[in-house]
Amino acid sequence: MPIRRLPPDLINRIAAGEVVERPASVVKELVENALDAGAGRIEVQTEGGGLARILVADDGGGMGPAELPVAVERHATSKLNPDADGGYDLLRIATLGFRGEALPSIGSVARLTLTSRARGATDAFGLTVDAGRLEGPFPSAFPGPHGARVEVRDLFYATPARLKFMKSARAEDMAIAETLRRQALASEGVAFSLDLDGRKALRLPAERVGPEGRRARIAALLGGDFADNAFGLDQTREGLSLTGYAALPTYNRGSAQHQYLFVNGRPVRDRLLGGALRAAYADVLARDRHPLAVLYLDLDPALVDVNVHPTKAEVRFRDPGLVRGLIIGALRHGLAAAGHRASSSVAGQALGRFRPGFEPGAHAAGASAWREGGWSPRAAAPVSPSLPGLSGVSARAEPWIGPPDAGVPDPQDPSVPPTQAGAEHPLGAARAQLHETYILAQTRDGLVIVDQHAAHERLVYETMKAQMAAGGVARQALLLPEVVELDPADAERVSGRAEELAALGLVLEAFGPGAVLVRETPALLGETDIAGLVRDIADDLTENDAPLALGERLAEVCSTMACHGSVRAGRRLQASEMDALLRTMEATPLSGQCNHGRPTYVELKLADIERLFGRR
């Protein structure tokens, strides 16, 4: 067969297969163009899931009649400028687009209309491309002083095969909305609007550029709940700057969908992010729960290669280890600092459960259940009247009349140091134990309910972790070194990280091209399935570039041991014991949630309680 040169329209159609996968990718390309053109407001309208019509209008710089036909030519772009020698530098890309493929690709598979008024020009011009056939430019009407409108009709009509692969209009709508949300998270200074089949789907006003505007934009897109339950990140290391927000562990989701990473303002889906988040949240969240995060990474464009993927959804970092370390470090730091902010949504939910006006019968039943639970109502008596006016007054100031064994402090007992419910003790003074499971503590401006088992388990776990970090992981040498067969790439990856693994107690070395030889295992794991462990680590290295499985197994053993070694629900605690638990929690980072991301305590502010009783 002779080798042929393909005609340009066919080349464009082939390119369209990569760049224009579905309507959402058209929206993505056009919105990126608008942002690169310096738009302050971007309007998107779609019909029929974007297959019938997509309109993207902006108020950016616009184009003149001479530029318009060039814009729809392949490999034509305004975004790369030659340097003094006429060379182009693909390693320093500061714009979202640069390939010059979007418009010709779209034009080759749809009916494209482009109208624009250049900044400062009086006349507007337009052109059409119908399945690759160019018409125009011709004078045209354009609303607004400057900018561009791109209208795409009958997407994929020129490639019926692709049309057959489209999902339902609803699914395409959702993908379009998600695309726009992602881009909007990165560009808080730009106003966005989205109309799906004439319905208002998104209205985002322009925010001030900067952290505040960013916070407002995130709240608008991910909900106020996220903003309330997230901690801020701001770290710079070796020219990399990481900002953004990540959720408290108690505010988690069942899927990893709400994890956003923006590299120099470009939304990317990078597996590095998932792995880094998992590693950072490893011991505060169960494996099947996922944190929410919006992270902005800014770095010298020369340090990241964006030219690795036709739709630029993936990027390649020159030093992925540094990026990973920065993300994990910043998240861990933030988590430790935020360790004492129990999710406000938890308290909110709890408040929502309270209902005033008990039925008399129900009330009686409740009261007797309480007494059976080992809580003396008499002992509680001094607590309630003292609540409203109490601010920072010593718990000792009240004369206690409860029996000493009822789980409240005994004033005569000199071994119980007086506890100040002041600012220095954010978790307050323990007042009572409810149902032999929950500790009720009074703080300066509210009350705290602690789940004693969850809290103590976390404390024991943290102690064990600290021990492990200080003492190193004991390694049991194997009498019969185990050969684990892996595929050669995995074997190389695993043996390449031997040093890191040895620190966690797993000593192994390469054994021929497709196997590793395990000589020592973490003693903590006892007799373990070595082959299974090594394979999991290999998978982790492929997927997340970090041997998470090993750390997770050790943590699992620690957490099982912590569970057995901690105070259970149902154990009666003396006041001094409860206070001691509260003080240790205050001193321990990450004690706000158990190992699975559930809160260990809930704080109710006095204002919330007053609201319950209609005082506010």
């Binding site: 390694r475 049991q476 040498a477 009498l479 003693a523 007799e527 399935d529």
Partner: protein, 378 residues
């Protein structure tokens, strides 16, 4: 089928077989015991498809026949019957249940047909070899503690029993290892043993066989094939599949030239290890041994509970060194030493390299047992 038997005899027979029966089964008949009444008396058999135990005992058989009934229920019933009671078991075609009567007590148990009871074929077994019960018990007791519990290395989850000729002597040897330690025990090979295949006897079989040896006579007759092993204890017999796998070349890991020899009082050593390890709550209680001429210092360090140390007199006259072990492994091995003294032989390699070499533990009075321990590095 109808028979009468004294309660104690029935209880003993049921006791021999019932522990094979798993508590939960997906095949209903595996929960049952096969009751066979014949001219030789009563035979009970139970199986979990991997192992079968048959117990034969005398009984007054009025009508021969076979039926199966729930093993655990029957055992519990017989256990609770008063001592000395005469128990009658009868199954007639009229009532499709097994009737158990003792004095004024009676119960009807559901049955399943005897024809459905899975029988374990006994083909291919070698000529029976008579082994002294005492010697066989010793082989098992010396090695069973080291059997692996990790199912992924299934070939280590049993005792490797095999005859061999070493330095001109014919030996029957048992070896078990879990990859961290190894235990080996020898006995002179009984007549006819050499030439039989080596077998890996699964943990559950070891446990059941060891239990039945308590009631066995002077000798146990053993038959093997590459797939099966059969023990005949006199009235009871056990047939089991063996682990289908190759036991690793254990001789390679038994250190030959370990020249640093430490001898200490075994009881004092075990007590000291136990005492210092008390402060460690972890599973892997790491004990450090600092060996010097004339003494050994045991240390356990725990971040939370502090440090425990005990000094012990020991017979050693080489260069001082330090090595760590899992305390439980040390205690397990020490428990196997019958002599007053325990002998530990360490590798001669200088420096940290020796910390990784296997250590040989010996019973000075029992040259036919050897134990190998791998150190622990903290």
């Amino acid at each position: 089928m109808k028979l009468t038997i004294e309660r104690a005899a029935l209880l003993k027979a049921l006791g021999h077989v019932q522990s094979v029966v798993e508590r939960r089964n997906t095949i209903p008949i595996l929960s049952n015991v096969l009751i066979s009444a014949g001219p030789r008396g009563l035979a009970l058999s139970a199986t979990d498809l991997d192992m079968e135990i048959v117990d034969e005992t005398e009984a007054e058989v009025e009508a021969p026949g076979q039926i199966t009934a729930p093993a655990h229920t029957l055992y519990e019933i017989v256990r609770k019957l008063p001592e000395g009671a005469e128990v009658s078991l009868s199954y007639t075609g009229d009532d499709p249940r097994l009737q158990v009567r003792a004095g004024r007590y009676k119960v009807n148990l559901p049955v399943l047909p005897a024809g459905d009871f899975p029988a374990m074929p006994k083909d291919g077994l070698s000529q029976a070899v008579e082994v002294e019960t005492e010697a066989l018990i010793r082989l098992i007791d010396r090695t069973r503690f080291a059997i692996s519990t990790e199912e992924t290395r299934y070939y280590l989850t049993g005792i490797y029993l095999h005859p061999l000729v070493e330095e001109g002597r014919e030996i029957l040897r048992a070896v078990a290892t879990d990859g961290h330690r190894l235990a080996l025990a020898d006995m002179p090979a009984p007549a006819g043993a050499v030439g039989a295949p080596g077998v890996i006897i699964p943990r559950k079989t070891v446990q059941e066989a060891r239990r039945l040896m308590e009631d066995a006579g002077e000798t146990v007759s053993v038959q093997v094939s590459p797939q099966k092993v059969r023990f005949d204890f006199g009235r009871a017999s056990l047939t089991s599949k063996v682990i289908d796998g190759a036991f690793p070349d254990y001789k390679r890991v038994i250190p030959q030239g370990n020249g640093r020899v430490l001898t200490a009082d075994n009881a004092l050593f075990a007590a000291a290890v136990d005492r210092v390890a008390t402060i460690s709550s972890e599973k892997s209680r790491s004990v450090k041994l600092a060996v010097e001429p004339g003494r050994v210092v045991l240390t356990v360090r725990n971040m939370e509970t502090g440090q425990a140390q005990e000094e012990l007199e020991a017979d050693y006259d080489g260069a001082p060194f330090e090595i760590g072990f899992n305390a439980r492994y040390l205690l397990d091995v020490s428990a196997q030493i019958g002599a007053e003294m325990i002998e530990l032989r360490f590798a001669d390699r200088a420096g940290g390299a020796a910390m990784l070499d296997p250590v040989l533990v010996l019973d000075p009075k029992d040259a036919a047992s050897q134990f190998v321990l791998m150190p622990l590095r903290a």
